[in-house]
């Protein structure tokens, strides 16, 4: 497989095949990001399609090749935000399916539900930290916010999540 550097050089010259090969290397991360921000497959597909076409169209504006990873992630986050703004989205769970779930699956769904219920700012911080693999300093630079804000958002987000997750059992946990 050709390196990201070589593929980027070719893609910037207009080689569509190289651009596709490049994006395919990030496909899983991009999908996990989009599916974490949006809840239905149709929206995920739309956001990813728009994001990839937009990146192809604007590749010439990428000044530093070393930032391709964060650059393409940023475009996707913008696309997901745009879908969310359009739909004023909220997540739903098909209650008819629930009784058929195994215990583990059911528990997983609860965690997913709690994750989905989080505010967008917390979700983005989690996505950038756990899925894209940025540290809090890099996330701060990415979002143009102080690193301290990001650290506190990651921590506060986990507390909120834990509280929501355990709410059904009547347990309240305060990490502060």
């Amino acid at each position: 497989m050709e390196s990201v550097k070589v593929l980027l050089k070719k893609a910037k010259k207009g080689d569509g095949e190289a651009f596709v090969a490049l994006v395919q290397q990030y496909e899983d991360v991009l999908y996990r990001m989009a599916s974490r921000m949006l809840t239905n497959d149709e929206d995920v597909a739309d956001a990813m399609q728009e994001e990839i076409l937009s990146a192809y169209e604007r590749l010439h504006t990428l000044k530093n090749d070393a930032y391709f990873n964060t650059w393409i992630c940023k475009i996707l986050i913008n696309q997901c935000n745009s879908v969310l703004n359009k739909h004023n989205h909220f997540s739903t769970i098909d209650v008819d399916v629930l009784p058929e779930q195994l215990h583990d699956d059911f528990q997983k769904l609860e965690l997913e539900d709690a994750l989905n219920s989080l505010n967008k700012d917390y979700k983005i911080a989690f996505i950038l930290y756990y899925i894209v693999g940025l540290n809090s300093k890099e996330i701060g630079a990415f979002l143009k916010e102080p690193e301290g804000n990001i650290k506190s958002r990651l921590s506060r987000g986990k507390t909120l999540l834990r509280n929501n997750y355990y709410k059904s059992e009547g347990v309240f946990i305060n990490e502060n």
Partner: protein
């Protein structure tokens, strides 16, 4: 019991997920679309042998005598292209004040120049509300089409999502652009563009118009990375002054039996366009990348930024522009293709 939240949470965030079929289908179709668009773009570079366009011989550039003005123009077109710099120093540029306003933005074409190898345009954009150029703005570009007086589109720099209006008959090879001035206080942006043709096929611009369709304001590291302002700004391009003939110097091979067969070598005001062939088909462009240069009698070297490569009758044909211009007035130059050979060229 939900006992290990930390572990479950990390697992939920990091677990691999199989891409569902609906998303897979959409991705594959997106990739197919990009491959098609890319092929269409590549077709623009396919070599088309045409009758040598001699119309450039008919026109001229205004000779600017004011040194201050020359210095300013050079500043505008600072692309690191020695050929263009030399042409501008020689006064090969047209002043213009063609202007249009829409969507609270006034765009003025300030200078332009053109020969068969390169077209240059320097625009000023003035935003009524300077706040649009905040600290996060890194680039301002435009989506535009350049249309000649005969209604033919010379080049179209627009997103792939918009249809082309022309037939690409002029085969422009590439475009370079930058913002030498981007002033958030005054709301003014300078936007300079160089269009080039590796095959020396650009037409004389006669009654040409730049049709601007959108302004793109790019940001880095902000949620809103691109602001697109759609509008209509049509700017007339000044015709070349007819007072003085534009010098074109043609070269011929000193040794016709050379391994490098030069079919055309013409020095225009901005650059020398060279088209040559070698009797071999190459799998990739590596033997030509970074290995082509001209050397003049003083030992100065002139390199190219890019080239077109094509195959015909078991030959590889290369077309490229080099920053040695008609103003150099060189009687003898040597073209070197490292690893393959060299050929001396003499003026016809």
């Amino acid at each position: 019991m939900k006992t290990d939240f930390k572990k479950e949470f990390k697992q939920a965030m990091t677990e691999e997920k199989e891409i569902p079929s609906a998303v897979r289908k959409s991705l594959d179709s997106t990739y197919a679309s990009i491959r098609t668009q890319s092929k269409m773009k590549k077709n623009r570079f396919i070599w088309k042998r045409v009758t040598a366009a001699a119309c450039a011989l008919l026109f001229t550039g205004i000779l600017l005598t004011n040194e201050r003005v020359i210095a300013n123009i050079n500043e505008f077109f600072k692309f690191g292209d020695k050929g263009i710099e030399r042409a501008l120093d020689e006064g090969f540029a047209q002043d213009s004040n063609s202007s249009a306003s829409d969507q609270d933005v006034t765009i003025t074409l300030q200078q332009n120049f053109s020969d068969a190898n390169k077209i240059g345009m320097s625009f000023q954009l003035e935003f009524e509300d300077p706040r649009i150029l905040d600290a996060d703005v890194t680039d301002v570009t435009m989506d535009f089409r350049l249309k000649n007086g005969d209604g033919e589109y010379v080049d179209e720099f627009i997103p792939d999502t918009k249809p082309l209006k022309g037939t690409n008959k002029y085969d422009a090879s590439g475009i370079a652009m930058h913002n030498p001035i981007l002033n958030a206080k005054t709301g003014k942006v300078q936007f300079d563009v160089i269009i080039d043709s590796n095959k020396g096929m650009l037409p004389c611009l006669q009654d040409a118009v730049v049709e601007i369709e959108s302004i793109n304001v790019f940001r880095v590291f902000a949620f809103e990375t691109l602001k697109k302002i759609d509008g209509k700004w049509d700017l007339a391009i000044m015709n070349q002054d007819m007072g003085k003939p534009m010098t074109i110097i043609e070269y011929t091979m000193d040794d016709p039996s050379s391994i490098i067969q030069v079919s055309s070598a013409k020095a225009s005001p901005t650059s020398l366009n060279l088209i040559f062939s070698v009797d071999e088909i190459f799998d990739n462009e590596s033997p030509f990348s970074h290995s082509m240069k001209f050397i003049d009698k003083d030992g100065n070297e002139y390199l190219t930024d890019g080239f077109n490569m094509d195959e015909q009758n078991n030959q590889t044909i290369i077309a490229a522009n080099f920053p040695i211009t008609a103003y150099h007035n060189a009687a003898k130059i040597t073209f070197v293709l490292e690893g393959i050979g060299e050929v001396k060229l003499l003026t016809k």
